[in-house]
Amino acid sequence: MMSQHPATWGQPTPANSSFNQFNTFPLPQTQRGQSSHAHHGPVGHTQQPLVTGTSVLGLKYDGGVMIAADNLASYGSLARFRDIQRLHPLGQHTLLGVAGDMSDFQWLKKELDALLREEDALALTDSHPSLSPKNIYELLSNLFYARRSKMNPVWNAVLVGGWDKVKKESFLAYVDLLGTTYTAPTLATGFGAHLAQPLLREAYEAKAGIDGNGPLLTKEEAEKVLEDCMKVLFYRDARSLNKYQIATITSEGVDISDSKSADTYWKFAEGLRGYGAQTQ
């Protein structure tokens, strides 16, 4: 390919670039056609995410847990797929919110759905309750850690939200491509960890207190906080989209909302130099 950059116009594009010239999509990193010295040593499973989803947010509230994610799957900086659902229910009382590589996510869905079908079939003979959110999370953690240990990571960060029928309490936990796991009443992946998590914690602790012993947010309050956070993320995360869904998991089961948008305000942009049309 020919370089389009003014400083190097007409020259061949460099061999070591990992994105195309307009930064719209990542170039494949295969070693095919490279000179022999380029690949010495063993062939690794090294990969990078291609089509990616950005932040996922999670929040416990009175009677359940909510998970939010937008509908965008980006290809580098290209907003490639704009109607992708990144919330996936597993059984009656569990839901995944997935950030990171979307093809790994699709593979994950397939594997977990198959496992749950098998589990349902066994339950037909012994009536044993199906896997709880905790069980699914444990499995997922093992899967992610095992794959990272093979240097072949599943390139995702996942929030698991659920309702534990036995303990009668909500469940919220995080696992990522390193196998790192943790649980907290509010969680966020990626950019959301920087931009939304402080807002979520502030709202949660305002009622529940720092030890979480006070009252939890109501359903309406929780939804409002998440919508605010999704808006903040849309304003500041260039890989986000103002079209998102919120899943609610309660003792009643999983409910995934239709896609919705936050009201945004851009009027101020007109007054900003370098933002709107330039008049001088």
Partner: protein, 272 residues
């Protein structure tokens, strides 16, 4: 210039360079600190509960200290995923040991097993610093510390993790009496003989100070106290024995109950 991923001129100088390798890094550092101190007939093993990555606090409560048997408690620090999975494997091995021998594994055997398990992954190590505390067969309090690939030794005390460099010198001074002189004519100092109350306050001071000066330490603290069989609990239980804000709980025996007792003390740490 952000539009262009590469410096426009950079590649002109090295057109034949091999492609930049975006190698997957399988490790992370999740901060936090742990420490353990041995007494004559008890052992104290403690850790904070913050788990972080860079400047992000991932959670304010993640466990780093684990009861393995009635006589052994293990603290892990470093890459949390490795730590959790390592503890899981250790517990597995302990269960199979009990299946085979109808008794729990002894402390020094656990220590040697941990070294074997860590060295077994010498060329793809668990990025974990382990400190094992508990009661030996002879009833003495013990602390074993390990590096990520299995080197280990028995000590009177050890700190590890993010605030190791803050806490260990303090312990060297207070436990090993480094840079202290006995009064002329008095008995020489012997490390590992301090009373439980003194040890507990050293642990608390270590963590509160580390919380002040290290961003990765804080939120909460869990202190496990393992006591030799038939040891008095008068210096731990009862009114006014613990500092304000501390909560204590006795952990039930896991095995046949030969008299060792394990207590868990929790205390809040600053969250900023």
């Amino acid at each position: 210039m952000a539009l262009y991923h590469n410096q426009p001129m950079a590649h002109a100088q090295e057109p034949t360079a091999a492609p930049i390798e975006h190698r997957f890094n399988p490790y992370s550092d999740n901060g936090g600190s742990i420490l353990a101190i041995a007494g004559t007939d008890f052992s104290v093993i403690a850790g904070d509960t913050r788990q972080s990555e860079g400047y992000n606090i991932q959670t304010r409560y993640a466990r780093k200290v684990w009861q393995l048997t009635d006589k052994a408690v293990l603290a892990t620090n470093g890459f949390a995923a490795d730590g959790n999975n390592f503890v899981k494997r250790v517990k597995q091995r302990l269960e199979w040991y009990e299946h085979a021998h109808h008794k729990p594994m002894g402390l020094k055997s656990i220590a040697r097993m941990i070294q074997t398990m860590l060295y077994g992954k010498r060329f793809f190590p668990y990025y974990v610093y382990n400190i094992l505390g508990g009661i030996e067969e002879d009833g003495s309090g013990a602390v074993y510390s390990f590096d990520p690939v299995g080197s280990y030794e028995r000590e009177a005390c050890r700190a590890a993790g993010a605030a190791q460099s803050l806490i260990q010198p303090f312990l060297d001074n207070q436990i090993y009496f480094k840079n202290q002189q006995p009064e002329p004519g008095s008995q020489p100092f012997i490390p590992g003989n301090l009373p439980l109350a003194t040890v507990l306050s050293l642990v608390v001071d270590s963590f509160t100070s580390a919380t002040e000066r290290h961003i990765e330490v804080g939120d909460g603290m869990e202190i496990y106290i393992v006591m030799a069989r038939d040891r008095t609990t008068d210096d731990l239980l009862g009114e006014g024995k613990l500092q304000k804000g501390m909560e204590i709980e006795e952990l039930g025996t896991l095995g046949e109950g030969q008299g060792e007792r394990t207590f868990l003390v929790r205390q809040a740490l600053k969250r900023d």
